[in-house]
């Protein structure tokens, strides 16, 4: 939805590509997005678990009919889009923060320490966008759904299985509230014991620093940062997190940031709207008790 929002900057007509098997429902949903012309639906058994080789091939086949190809900056598109760009012999701009006229973009580099303004001279603009930086479009549209025939499977790769984290909590990517714990939680049991009650009360997703993941306190799917997930919730609460560059990268676009840390000089406080210097093992349970929302 945000990617469609970002595409509107060009004032052209917008189509949506959707690939998979048995995706009628998804296509209908996509057709409601405001300002979209057509939904190009590639529905085929071999696209059940879409592989980079096959999806990039589809984009390659239809890509020259477009002047701009945009996707949100997710693992899915980060896997596919560079391959499609190479097939089309154009460069790609990753994780765009701002789109200006004349194909001028702002994106972050050096782990978020530097913003680069650049201009692309390619005939097709291929980019992934930092979703939280763009407005989502509404759902009052009525796009045409076009069934397209997918090219044959390339059979370079075989899909085996997947492991999704099943959680009662909202997915990290679009949670309104995220609370993240660091190495200081000390063990997997404590990580859970201290953070869960507060997460339950706030209906929050739980995130972790790399140090907490490496120590085995939390699964790697919930790592927030440069090498993990990038989140931008309304409220981000960093608990016992030092505020390393690579972590900040993953949460600095959050609307309100709270940090709880017992070191008054911790870097994280520079990125927090509200800082509480306290022992997390006392402050977090107290907070869980005092929060009124149930």
């Amino acid at each position: 939805m945000n990617a469609v929002g970002s595409a509107q900057i060009w004032n052209g007509s917008i189509d949506i590509l959707i690939v998979g098997e048995g995706i009628d429902g998804a296509a209908i949903h996509a057709s409601k997005l405001d300002g979209v012309d057509k939904i190009l639906k590639f529905d085929a058994p071999h696209l059940n678990h879409p592989l980079a080789e096959d999806v990039a091939n589809i984009i390659f086949k239809i890509g020259r009919e477009y002047s701009v190809i945009i996707a949100p900056h997710t693992w899915f598109s980060r896997n596919i889009l560079p391959r499609a760009a190479a097939l089309l012999d154009v460069s790609m701009i990753s994780d765009v923060l701002e789109i200006n006229e004349d194909n001028i973009y702002i994106r972050s580099t050096y782990a978020g320490n530097v913003h680069a303004k650049l201009k692309s001279g390619d005939p097709i603009q291929i980019l992934t966008v930092h979703s939280s930086k763009f407005k989502a479009v509404g759902l009052n549209g009525n796009a045409k759904i076009i069934d397209s025939t997918a090219p044959e499977a390339l059979n370079l790769t075989r899909w085996e299985k997947e492991k999704k984290i099943d959680s009662v909590r909202p997915p990290l990517i679009n949670a309104k509230v995220v609370i993240s714990g660091g190495r200081s939680l000390g063990s997997a049991e404590k990580f859970n014991e201290v953070l869960s009650p507060l997460a339950d009360k706030l209906e929050a997703a739980i995130g972790a620093t790399r140090a907490a993941v490496d120590a085995g306190y939390a699964p790697n799917e919930i790592q927030v940062g440069q090498t993990g997930v990038v989140v931008a919730p309304d409220l981000y609460i960093a608990i016992g997190v030092s505020g390393a560059n690579q972590h900040i990268y993953g949460m600095k676009d959050s609307r309100v940031v709270v940090a709880i840390n017992n070191d008054p000089d911790a870097t994280i406080f520079k990125f927090a709207d509200y800082g509480l210097v306290a022992d997390l093992f006392e402050a977090v349970p107290e907070m869980a008790t005092l929060v009124s929302k149930t």
Binding site: E53, W75, A84, A86, S91, N113, H115, I173, G275, L276
Partner: protein, 250 residues
């Protein structure tokens, strides 16, 4: 099996790089440089595959100025067998790097091509996928585990909200995540020994590929600073402040 590993020289991950005062580029004067961390994982994995008897030879390749010799030396000290430096004075963009690597692949004919999933300087994360596209071969990005069975490569990789397992046919391009392994420390004697291993130098112009920049940097700047926050004295005050924020329901 033969393995090619691509290695980039980047700033040390602890260093906060800043723009030059005129905003023309970043200021790397005096900044500590080394092997891109994700590339270190790629090197480590290649060496393990050789130690486990799956690989016969590991070739390291870097594209950059003559300074990039130091990261190649580092890889040789870790256990890479020989290295190639493709000398280029300009910093090449991912598509150009992929085109150069394609040339090297055509010459070396590796079965596995290992790269880091991302470089700490440009943060683009594109080169491996682009290379796989140009080679029309299989790809497995963001790999947290790589195993070889009966000539096929089994990979566990990161997807949105979890992981997936896929099997690729060789030749295949793999990009390494930090979780893939724990890179070994290099011992001093190995560093000395690495001096004797060969580094072949090729001039990028001699490869006959178009490495021109498609993206032109207009300026670089520091990100807009976050509004200065406040310290609260206790949990009660914190909750009060949060409750006062419009649209935030807690």
């Amino acid at each position: 099996m033969k393995i090619l590993v691509a290695i980039k020289r980047v700033q040390d991950y602890n260093i906060k790089v800043r723009p030059k005062s005129d905003g023309s580029d970043v200021d790397l004067e005096g900044v500590k440089m080394g092997v891109n961390p994700f590339d270190e994982n790629a090197i480590e994995e290649a060496i393990r595959l050789k130690e486990e008897g799956f690989a016969s030879e590991i070739v390291g390749v870097s594209i950059g100025s003559s300074l990039s010799q130091d990261v190649l030396r580092q890889s040789l000290a870790m256990g890479v067998d020989r290295a190639i430096l493709v000398e280029a004075e300009e910093v090449l963009q991912p598509l150009a790097v992929a085109k150069v690597l394609k040339k090297v692949v055509e010459k070396e004919k590796p079965d596995l091509i290992l790269l880091g999933k991302l470089a700490l300087d440009s943060d683009a994360g594109q080169t491996g996928q682009m290379l796989a596209g140009l080679l029309n071969c299989s790809q497995a990005t963001f790999a947290s585990s790589i195993e070889i069975k009966d000539g096929e490569v089994f990979i566990t990789r990161e997807v949105d909200g979890g992981t997936e397992s896929i099997v690729t046919k060789t030749p295949t391009v793999l990009t390494a995540d930090l979780r893939l392994n724990e890179p070994r420390f290099v011992k001093l004697p190995n560093l000395m020994m690495a001096r004797k291993k060969p580094i072949e130098t090729i001039k990028v112009d001699d490869l006959g590929v178009d490495v021109s920049s498609r993206l032109n940097t207009i300026s670089v700047s520091e990100p807009p600073p976050r509004k200065e926050g406040i310290k609260v004295k206790d949990v009660k005050e914190l909750l009060q402040k949060l409750n006062d924020i419009e649209g935030l329901k807690i």
